[in-house]
């Protein structure tokens, strides 16, 4: 895999991770 393609995959994974963090944190705040 070329570095640029790897970088793109990494950034997409970061988007998914960020969405997960936001969703789970909002859920925890609302649940508490």
């Amino acid at each position: 895999m070329q570095p640029e393609a790897f970088r793109r995959c990494f950034l997409i994974a970061m988007i998914l991770l960020g969405i997960y963090l936001v969703a789970s944190a909002i859920y925890n705040v609302l649940a508490s």
């Binding site: 790897f6 990494f10 963090l21």
Partner: protein
Amino acid sequence: MTASAGCAFVIPEGLIRNLQIVPIAPIGQCAGMFEPLLFLIAAAFLIAGFIKGVIGLGLPTVSMGLLAVSMPPAHTLAIVIVPAIITNIWQTFGGPYLRDIIRRLWPLMAGTVVGIRLNAGMLTGPYARYGTIVLGGLLVIYAIVGLSKFSLHVTRRDEKWIGGIVGLTTGVVSAATGVQVIPSMPYMPGHRHGEGRTGAGARVVLHGRDDGAGLQSHQRRTTDRLDRVAGRGSDGRRLPRHVHRTGGALADAAGSLSPLLPDRDDPARDLSRGERDL
């Protein structure tokens, strides 16, 4: 406690094991510690280190994001800060560009320090529970900015005061999340690959070996890289295809650095003057 009193206390304490008051070997009351979180931490740093090794950036950002899945950002930052600082200090002082970086980006660094001080209680105060939300949002913004290759184009004259504002904002955000990429990343000249070489910890010593600033003392070389990426020789003629392909790995870096490069068609912005102005 005076020094003599301290010694008088320490020496008998040190002899407790020798006197067998406390057994040297465990006698069964204590179980071996097993902490599954250690595996998560190791895996997070393994992934973050791998990513940093491949694309040259993101160790603190990735490790913060991964570890924040299981703990608050304040705890995450306490784990991440030492590896991030050590690796980035290494990179910062490993290159020849530190002086140029400091001369050019000191407002950004100073603003970051002030911003962190202003917002220092955010990570541990009453609003700390929202830190993970902000962190997740930042990761999304960071990734979108990276994918879109968005960057702020700032003239050399305005670089100082804009850098101060960007640094201040970065510091405020960083104090709340531990991530120092927004908004300094789109502002940072030559960020995409430069950040990899300097790393986020270099935002404390801010981008010590960043290509963006190294560019200024190596503009001529970087311009040649741009030419190779564009498939042109120094004389403007197109290079053979295999040479162009060789320069492909530099394409992104060169593309992000290009706003800083003097326009080849503008005789008023020649390279030597650019070096003097730095």
